[in-house]
Amino acid sequence: MCPICGERDYTEFRYGGDATKPRPSRETADPKVWHDYVFLFDNPKGLHREYWQHVLGCRQWLVLERNTATNEPGESRLARMDVVTCEGEPK
């Protein structure tokens, strides 16, 4: 399900990993923060928020809620509207 293009086949999308981990700000110099962001996963059995890109469609990155125990998809939103996941990027 793409919020822009509507219901689409899953082959049009590409998975992009856990969307609950906020990307550390660029200035973050703490290797542990980066290590945890890059390498560790909650990997829950149940509700999961994750990135998908509509690669064969509008090419937007989405945040999808899905139940990993049933694969039942929930709501999806454009990633750029999903401010919760992102630490502000000081310029």
Partner: protein, 418 residues
Amino acid sequence: MRPRYSALSLLRHAVAETPWPRAWRVPDPKPTYDVVIIGGGGHGLATAYYLAAHHGIKDIAVVERAYIGSGNLGRNTTLVRSNYVLDGNTQFFEYSMKLWEGLSHELNFNVMLSQRGQIVLAHGPSQMDVLARKGNIMRLNGIDAELLDRGEVIKLLPYLDHSGEARFPICGGLFQQRAGTVRHDAVAWGYARAADSLGVDVIENCEVNSFVIDGDRVRGVNTTRGRISAGRTAIAVAGHSSHLAAMAGLRLPIESHLLQAFVSEPIKPFLDHVISFGAELFYISQSDKGGLVFGGHIDGFNSYTQRGQFPKVQTVAECAVALIPSISRLRLLRHWAGIQDMTPDGSPFICRTPLRDLYLNGGWCYQGFKATPAVGWCFAHTIANDDEHPLSRCYSLDRFARGRELDDYGVGNWTYKQ
């Protein structure tokens, strides 16, 4: 003492019609054990066996939430091989291969190691160079390997698509004769029977729900059949490592992904080798029962459902036909999926954890079946000595923090692409 299995005992039982004894007992969990191993897959059972057989620890329970072998052990494509290129991987998987070679005898259970040979195909000169590097490393580590040119592949595997129609022409391959397949279920049963006869309690239908944690120390587990205290606790739950780790408050470098497997209807001998396509991830062999057993890449997103997506079924069928055009008319009988721990570098963990007396074996990605005996061997050592075994020292949890990834295929830091 269990009666030994042999042709003679088979005959004796057939004639006298005496009933066979149970292969392993059905014990109720005791309140406490020296070691509790969570997960009755190949890894858990092998670990229990080697602990009991080689480390003198006999007071062990293997707790399994369903039936033994119900996880990936029972649903994998059964390939065993030792063609790895990175220092650490090469030795570990070759050690496993050596253990396989003696396993039926060691367990007195025929696990049907069939060293029919595996050919990994190359479809271009740079792939040939990658295989050459791998083959050279294997030879330099005492592992058999042969580089085949196009003509040699045609001779060995004439039924592959060598025609001008092939989208990715085959230009050669790497052959490991000692590679092959093992009867997967027999591994569970063989280890269980052998471990059981050394006193290990194999407890089925017993799911671990939480750990008993005391400060920074794990003292046992709570299960659907009550609390079991343990001197040491070991996790060997394949696709569920994160789930178990979370119970102990740990986050792991693991995502759980679906890998599908496929079997055709049984036919007379059709493929005498294990063949791996080089253009995409696809591998195929024939089971002794006659079914063509094949598989491909993970579905590509994390899931615990144990059932796959149909587009992947098609992708895999496309690979099958691209590689072996005459497979077209043979029929897919059944397909299923397993839940795989995928790690950012495609390599596993056999190690201690930040909690004392809690040990982890997981993150096996595609390769845990072939690793089973060596996992048992090394993990048993780790548990018994509270220290990593030299062969598995590279499989630590902190390797990412240290920058010591072991990315044997050079895929890069994507769990879902590894």
